[in-house]
Amino acid sequence: MSNRVAVVVFPGTNCEHDVVRALVGLGGQAELIWHDQASLDTYDSVVLPGGFAHGDYLRPGAIARFSPVMAAIERFAASGGPVLGICNGFQVLTEAGLLPGALHKNRGLRFLCETVEVEVASARSVLTSQVETGTRLMLPINHFEGCYTCDASTLQMLIAEERIVLRYVENPNGSIESIAGISNAAGNVVGLMPHPERACDPLTGSNDGSALMQAIAGISQMAAKS
């Protein structure tokens, strides 16, 4: 049995259908839920997709953090449930304090829309549980505010606790330590700027996101290959 995945839709979210399509295409089950939902009891994992939640007004994720669903996500995460934030979803998770640090404007003030190489820096997280550390993946990025920033002590903690999940091979946006994705201490909450859901079909140029999205869908790699 695969996970029942809740894909959260805020006003302004725009990658929710890509996420559902990727998860279902891999053999998983996914449902869209509106941001006013206050319970996640019937779901096994949660994805916050990319887009512009609440118009990204003030700062990306600043208003989304106060949506009713966020209290439910906080409880869900505290109980060990897998939570994945992709791009804008990562920004929402940092604003909500579920992940440390912040996503700031890209170095060079450029909106980036390209496919980049990232390296799996830790296989401890729920997202990377089916890939080996050191694996390189081609994943699309599509962001203006993706420069990961945190203070020195937070960075030391992330390194020591193996919470840097993905690193850019060539840093495109100025992120500290080339960070493309991080996790919480337990590894069940993960945020990343690249879009693995857009790399789940060879037709789109890369299938490298499948190993990541399978883990969220709750499908083992063996099952997916057979």
């Binding site: 600043a62 440390p100 700031h104 404007k105």
Partner: protein
Amino acid sequence: MKYEVLVEVRLHDDIADPAGATVERALPALGFAGVEGVRVGKAVRFKVEAPGPEDALLRAEEVANRLLANPVIESAGVRLLGLLEAPS
């Protein structure tokens, strides 16, 4: 009582400011020499109901620190601009 408030949201000094750097680089082309240290922030004005100026400032600081600024990368300066309406 109704007070008008100005909140200035600033990036911390040690956070790179690509918008500020871009503005600074553009200035010489417009003939402005000798301008440096440009930092781009946000200014937010609003009105707040409170029994007195101290309370108005406290409420405004709460709004600024809870929502208007992200303490990881920003700080907020809060100023009361004045009393708008007092009960007659």
